[in-house]
């Protein structure tokens, strides 16, 4: 036997109670990628000797590595991004007592310094990528 349909509000209320919360990107804190792209657009225009000590322009591989990082983890706090004399890029976050620094060298290879309240970890290469993944959980939004 067919049941009579509840009013729309009742249906909506039931749906709300039984359905899991579905979170979409538009409901979350902003995607960090546009802000990162703006910073990168400025830094990739740096000329040789930008630091007065012969600093190299930011390398394309470093830009690409940073872009890929945020394609994979777009919902993190906006980092401070600085050029490195070798042609690399430094990304930095602070979250309470936690500080994270990730440096991508001119070949796009990452090294990470994670500083917590009572400990510090420093890794390079593949181990650094793993550490960075865990560290970014601390600055996820």
């Amino acid at each position: 036997m067919m049941m009579l349909v509840d009013t729309n509000s009742e249906v909506a209320d039931r749906y709300e109670r039984v359905q899991p919360k579905i979170e979409t990107p538009s409901m979350r804190t902003k995607d960090v990628r546009p802000a990162v792209r703006r910073q990168l657009a400025v830094l990739e225009r740096l000329q040789p000797n930008w630091d007065s000590y012969g600093g190299a322009p930011v390398a394309a591989a470093a830009i690409e590595a940073v872009t890929q990082l945020f394609d994979q983890r777009p919902y993190v706090r906006e980092p401070f991004i600085a050029p490195v004399a070798s042609g690399g890029l430094l990304l930095e976050w602070t979250a309470g007592a936690v500080e994270i620094e990730a440096e991508f060298d001119r070949d796009g290879v990452v090294s990470v310094l994670w500083t917590g309240p009572d400990e510090q970890s420093e890794e390079h290469g593949r181990a650094a990528a793993s550490l960075l993944g865990r560290a970014l959980d601390a600055v996820a939004v």
Binding site: S86, E101, E122
Partner: protein, 130 residues
């Protein structure tokens, strides 16, 4: 980071000075310290360039001279005790037009660079005239 020109930078024996480009002011809006990226060896791996403050002062070279031609840059001092604590040594490496030039091998330790960035003091803070 402690001190600024306004707070009265007081030179101590063994200080070394280093220019800081605006891209290394952290945070950019209200800089408190340089980024650790400001304290690295040069792009070809040569040691990091500094000015030996004792030599500079003896020769009459001022912070304004060190920043001359570098608009928007700031100047920091790394104290001798900071260098010693990190196992760093500033070596004289005089150049033709830089008689107080010195060099420091910063190695590859990120934690050491971070410690230097946290401990250095402004000689000429961002946005200040020397």
């Amino acid at each position: 980071m402690a001190g600024s020109e306004d707070a009265g930078y007081r030179q101590l024996p063994g200080d070394v000075w280093r220019r800081i480009p605006p891209w290394h002011f952290h945070p950019p809006e209200l800089p408190e310290r340089p980024a650790s990226a400001a304290f690295v060896n040069e792009k070809d791996g040569d040691p990091m360039s500094v000015v030996l403050a004792d030599v500079a002062t003896a020769l009459g070279i001022t912070p304004a001279d060190v920043l001359s031609g570098h608009d928007g840059f700031a100047l920091v001092a790394i104290r001798a005790e900071t260098l010693a604590a990190q196992g760093l040594v500033a070596t004289p490496s005089r150049r033709d037009h830089e008689p107080a030039h010195g060099s420091i091998d910063m190695g590859s330790s990120r934690s050491m660079r971070k410690a230097v960035a946290n401990a250095c003091v402004w000689v000429v803070a961002p946005g200040r005239s020397p």
